[in-house]
């Protein structure tokens, strides 16, 4: 019997066999402590790495039972490495290669999400309860950054409306606000006042209820990598990327339009709506074109990022004023 038979390829490993990330991260913390106590702990850690390196090499756990979605685009998907190593997540540094490195040990379990504001019952939901609210779908969306680059990502999640329906907002709820975790120890970027922390974002109720608006917990068939907003984020594909709050710990329903972080930081540059719009330039750069990562020439940016089905949400609104 060849030795190679003992080593399973990652494709052969069923997701149920893989140690849940929470457990192996806890174990890592434990081993680190043990290592400080004596050399035995360190030996254990290195042994584990030798025996089963694939466990840590795997970016995330596979998500079972993902359904395809008619809302997906057929455009070429941006490579996993680019999406995970080139993104803005100021909580983990302002360079685009920093989040991948600095979010490595971010703890996504246990994780609770507070449901507050104009709801029938204020409550705190466990992340694993939320993930079971609806079957996971793959949504391959165009994603356009306000800086002028774009990607195509196979997100995994379900419509945000699925959660909203279940928490029963009152008739006074006109907006939804999303708040990112505030934790200076785990999120070193928050130690600098580049932005006002914690990061907050918001949507109008009808925007949040639109089927395209995604409550997202995975990508590329796996759990979200930490640097892309694990364990829970939103994806609003017709808006600039900064609208998509990451690592959400609070969802609050409000009567009045909530503030959003980039709008607080530079109100003349970043609005509340932030719909992708080639006709409304950022004051400092044009939004008419974008560079799709991996492409040499620039391509024209499409109104609402090509998601024309949301146009009716804004009928009669001056989108130059409500940028």
């Amino acid at each position: 019997m060849g030795f190679s038979m003992l080593i399973k390829k990652s494709a052969d490993i069923r997701s149920s066999e893989i140690t849940p990330k929470s457990i192996y991260l806890n174990r890592r913390t434990f081993l680190a402590a043990a290592g400080m106590a004596g050399a035995a702990g360190l030996l254990g850690a290195s042994l584990r790495e030798t025996i089963a390196p694939s466990m840590t090499a795997l970016a995330g756990n596979k998500i079972d039972g993902i359904k395809k979605s008619p809302l997906s685009t057929t455009e070429t998907i941006t490579p996993y490495k680019d999406v995970t190593h080139y993104n803005n997540y100021y909580e983990f540094g302002t360079s685009k290669d920093e989040p991948a490195e600095l979010a490595k040990n971010f703890r996504t379990r246990p994780w609770k999400v507070k449901i507050e504001g104009q709801v029938e019952k204020k409550q705190e939901l466990d992340i694993d309860t939320i993930l079971k609210m609806a079957p996971p779908e793959e949504r391959i969306y165009r994603h356009r950054c306000v800086e002028g680059w774009s990607i195509v990502v196979p997100w995994v999640g379900f419509s945000l409306s699925e959660l909203i329906k279940r928490v029963n907002p009152t008739s006074k709820a006109k907006f939804v606000e999303f708040t990112t975790l505030l934790d200076k120890q785990q999120m070193p970027g928050q130690q600098r006042d580049v932005l006002e922390w914690p990061y907050v974002e918001g949507l109008r109720m009808d925007e949040a209820m639109h089927p395209l608006a995604l409550l997202c917990f995975g990508m590329y068939g796996e759990e979200l990598p930490n640097q892309d907003g694990a364990p829970l984020r939103i994806v609003v594909p017709w808006k600039y990327g900064f609208k998509c709050a990451k690592a959400i710990v609070r969802i609050r329903f409000t009567e009045k339009q909530p503030m959003n972080t980039w709008n607080i930081s530079a109100p003349q540059e970043y609005g509340f709506y932030a719909n992708v719009n080639p006709n409304v330039d950022h004051p400092r750069w044009s939004q008419a074109k974008e560079r799709r990562l991996g492409e040499f020439t620039k391509r024209p940016t499409l109104m609402f990022n090509g998601y024309d089905q949301v146009a009716s949400l804004y009928s009669g609104m001056d989108l130059k004023k409500n940028f």
Binding site: K81, D82, V83, H85, Y86, Y90, T94, K96, D97, E147, W149, R192, V194, L195, S265, A266, D281, R284, W285, S286, R291, L293, G294, F296, T297, K298
Partner: protein, 204 residues
């Protein structure tokens, strides 16, 4: 000294470009290589401007007067990286679309500042020869070459105006530039006062 050191420095000045080309050929410029090239060449333009501006203070502080012989080469490297930076914009960002570039220069203040910084370097590069110094005369030539101060200031402003929220890097460049300019201001003040004192003394 200069004869041996100059070729070494010349090669060292090419190292950033070599590294960029090497990384480019090995697909090591990240997910957005054109952005990496734009930022890389921009950073080195500013760095070389600051290195050029530090020659005078270094000379005076260390009394190593021979290093003035490196200044022209360093200044020309600032211009060289500036050309690469501009080329990246003209070619890889705007694809030679003149209309778009003119709109950019008129509408986008960070582009206006960047273009100004570059334009101010052109006369300096053109008059960098010994022949120009002789032709213009030392005083005039020196006055003209003070444009480098304005070029560097415009370059730092260009950087400040383009970042979204994190001003750390541009302000690092800005503070080094401020120090280098402060040194000159102090030097100027000292000679000014020295000459006033001399005049007053001679009047007594």
């Amino acid at each position: 000294m200069l004869r041996y050191i100059k070729p070494v420095i010349f090669l060292a000045c090419l190292a950033p470009l070599a590294r960029l080309v090497w990384r480019g050929l090995h697909a090591d410029l990240g997910a957005n290589p054109i952005e990496a090239i734009t930022h890389g060449t921009g950073d080195w333009t500013l760095t070389f401007l600051l290195i050029t501006l530090s020659i005078t203070p270094l000379r005076k502080l260390t009394r190593q007067y021979w290093i003035i012989g490196l200044r022209r080469m360093l200044g020309l490297f600032a211009f060289f990286y500036g050309c690469l930076h501009l080329m990246t914009y003209v070619w890889l960002d705007k694809f030679f679309d003149v209309h778009e570039m003119l709109a950019d220069i008129a509408k986008r203040r960070f582009i206006t500042a960047g273009m100004t910084a570059f334009a101010l370097m052109i006369p300096l590069a053109l008059t960098s020869t010994r022949w120009s110094i002789r032709k213009l005369g030392g005083k005039k030539w020196q006055a003209l070459h003070r444009l480098i101060y304005f070029s560097a200031v415009a370059g730092v402003i260009h950087y400040i105006w383009l970042v979204k929220a994190d001003l750390k890097r541009p302000l690092e460049y800005g503070s080094v530039l401020a120090l280098l300019l402060l040194f000159r201001a102090l030097l100027w003040a000292r000679t000014k006062f020295a000459s006033i004192e001399k005049r007053e003394l001679s009047q007594v």
